[in-house]
């Protein structure tokens, strides 16, 4: 009987592993969902930081300033936007999950934007649908 219980516990432990690696909505408790959302946000932050630093390194001083200014403004917007979106959850146990999910979502959108903007900035005219239709 004891072996059976141990086996069942072991099986349970194994089944929770894929869940931990999967989307946050498969979490069992609110604490787990919160932690999952936070770790997802941290992954997105690591990715944007790499992209931002790599992009910055390619520029001269003038473009570095433009990108740095844009990025600081984006961080202010991101925090203000997520504060707004999460306003209804103040004090609730879901607050951290909504907070980190919001930060991660906006960070991933910003990653796409940064990639596209870098192509445009570098003079790639195909980045702009109207750019090739003009004279001059």
């Amino acid at each position: 009987m004891r072996t059976l219980i141990l086996a069942a516990l072991a099986a349970l432990a194994l089944t929770t592993v894929p869940a931990a690696a999967g989307p946050c909505d498969q979490m069992r408790t609110q604490e787990q969902s919160n932690a999952c959302a936070e770790s997802d946000y941290k992954a997105a932050t690591a990715e944007i930081n790499r992209l931002y630093n790599d992009t910055l390194a390619k520029y001269d001083a003038k473009n570095q300033t433009l990108l740095r200014t844009a990025e600081r403004a984006w961080i202010t917007f991101r925090d203000a936007e997520c504060a707004f979106r999460n306003a209804g959850n103040a004090g609730a146990s879901t607050w951290p999950m909504v907070h980190f999910s919001c930060l991660a979502e906006l960070t991933r959108k910003r990653i796409d934007e940064l990639k596209a903007a870098h192509d445009c900035q570098a003079g790639d005219l195909t980045c702009n649908q109207n750019a090739d239709s003009g004279a001059d």
Partner: protein
Amino acid sequence: MRAWIIAALLVAPLALAARAAAPADDSQEGFNCANPTTQIEINICADKDYRRADDALNRAYKKAMADEDAHGRELLRTAERAWIRFRDAHCQYAASGSEGGSMHPMDYDNCVTELTDLRTKQLKEGR
């Protein structure tokens, strides 16, 4: 003759003002934004498109504000101001490759229009 010139000078600004206040009708400009042919026309059309996007955003923002209580309105107002600063800074960066060229106004306007349309969509979706 002199009276004619004075009359013409008086009328000209009125005609220009009427033109500026006219709705987005390309025929007023003497060309069609569906098929602009010079860079200047393209730039004017890009600006017109931005104004269309800005109007839509203002409508969506007002509607979103109306759905909020005082606290929500304050948070949304802060977010919107931050978003405008971000959008402008981002487009100054993104369009800097064409700075000094005749395409730059179009590049900048297209960038601002694209972000504005996305923001309108986001505001319409609600939080």
